[in-house]
Amino acid sequence: MLYSEKVMDHFRNPRNVGEIPDADGIGEVGNAKCGDIMKMYLKIDDGIITDVKFETFGCGSAIATSSMATELIKGKPLEEALTLTNQAVVEALDGLPAHKIHCSVLAEEAVRAAIKDYYDKNNIPYNPADFCDHDCEHCGAEH
């Protein structure tokens, strides 16, 4: 099989799909040209991620990694959510095929982009170096 059972479970029954209309932070990464876009919505209360939802345009692993990433950060303090790595998402999904690793990178970047958006909106100081700004490095297409 191409995907682990866990990937297929998160693909078939994605957790936290949807939109948060009054989100405190929104992050969107990826590019339609490359075939995947992830949008992450965060509700933040007292530095804690109280709710998270996602919308994804992409392949099976793009949907599964988005779903898993929301599970891993829900209820966590922002500082902890920022330590989420793509590797942690991959491990939680019992692995991804090599050519799908970039999906987990997008999931990590979507979380960081949403947190950065929250910091920006609320004038909370942060070290810009902590937020990688590149998008779609996996994709050779011109943007």
């Binding site: 297929m8 693909f11 078939r12 994605p14 799909v17 949807g18 939109e19 969107e28 339609a32 040209k33 490359c34 075939g35 995947d36 876009i37 992830m38 949008k39 919308e55 994804t56 345009f57 992409g58 392949c59 099976g60 793009a62 949907i63 050519h99 799908k100 996996h138 994709c139 050779g140 297409a141």
Partner: protein, 396 residues
Amino acid sequence: MRIYADNAATTRTSELARRVMADTMDRYWGNPSSLYSFGQEAAEVLYRARCDVAACLGAKPEEIYFTSGGSEADNQAIVSAAQMGKRRGKNHIITTPIEHHAVLHTVEKLAKEGFEVTYLPMDESGIVKVEDVAAAIRPETALVTVMFANNEIGTVQPVAEIGALCREKGVVFHTDAVQAAGHLAIDVAEMNIDMLSLSGHKFHGPRGVGALYVRKAVPLLSFIQGGAQERGRRAGTENLPAIAGMAAALTEACAHIDEHYKYVSSLRDALIDGLSAIPHGALNGARSPRLPGNVNFCFEGIEGESLLLLLDDKGVSASSGSACTSGSLDPSHVLLAIGRPHEVAHGSLRLTLDYTNTMEEVSEIVAAVKEVVDYLRKMSPVWKELERGERKYVIQ
């Protein structure tokens, strides 16, 4: 429910082909090159298979070379025609941007070795124009290679017209007929085809076997060295069970070609009509002339791999030209060549039907695709932007 709608990928081996293969293994296991009767009986089976394949194509038995499949046949035909051309100072090849990779990669390899390649212009119809071929032919053109019918979007090329033109200009004409053989009537003599490739498993024969037709007057260089099989053009002990199975399957397909064409076309048309009801989706390639079983759509706002996986959960086997399913970073070269932008090409779905499918299955496929497209669009940020007018629809 399990519906197989990926007959362009492979077909189920027919009962007749399976029986012939088992019988060949059982009774004709001798080496056709051996002189004793075990060998000669096998040689007779091989000859009959050659006659059968030739008869289906309007060719002579001595013009048929058995190969390991369509890819090998394409490789050998193109490399041979190019090398023969080079000996006479010809270093130019004409092809289309929508060929199968067995053709494109071979041509690209020849380009690296110094051949000049012209890719014919392509528009949204997915059909080349004969006048473009005429305009591209030069005194140094060694080969024109244009597929009979496209494997992704099913469009049928004007092969007979291109054949007549090439014959008149004295240029070798090869056609990759892997998707057409057994499904469309082919007469290599009438169509002025010099070389034609086909593959056993696309018409209910076994895989791992194919054939290359080469007109008697056209020289063919050997690709695999090591023996005198296939009149010295393809070394290696013949895969007789597969060859006999393929010949039986092709004969069977050609005997029913009109009847199957009519029936499968009606399924295809119903499927195209059914899927056309999905908003912001469009058929890829001209509706006609098109392979009887080919349906290929793009749906905006979604990605093909997730579409396929969810369709599989609903029992429908299909394929897509999205990057994720092609194993590369770019979506299908065919969809890009006919002008679909990347983001739309990612949302492609190919359904390929055959006489084994039914009208009930078509209705079930339409219902399943509608449901899955709708579900995926609901979770797609791209679709939301399209709906809100923040992004422009490519397909109206």
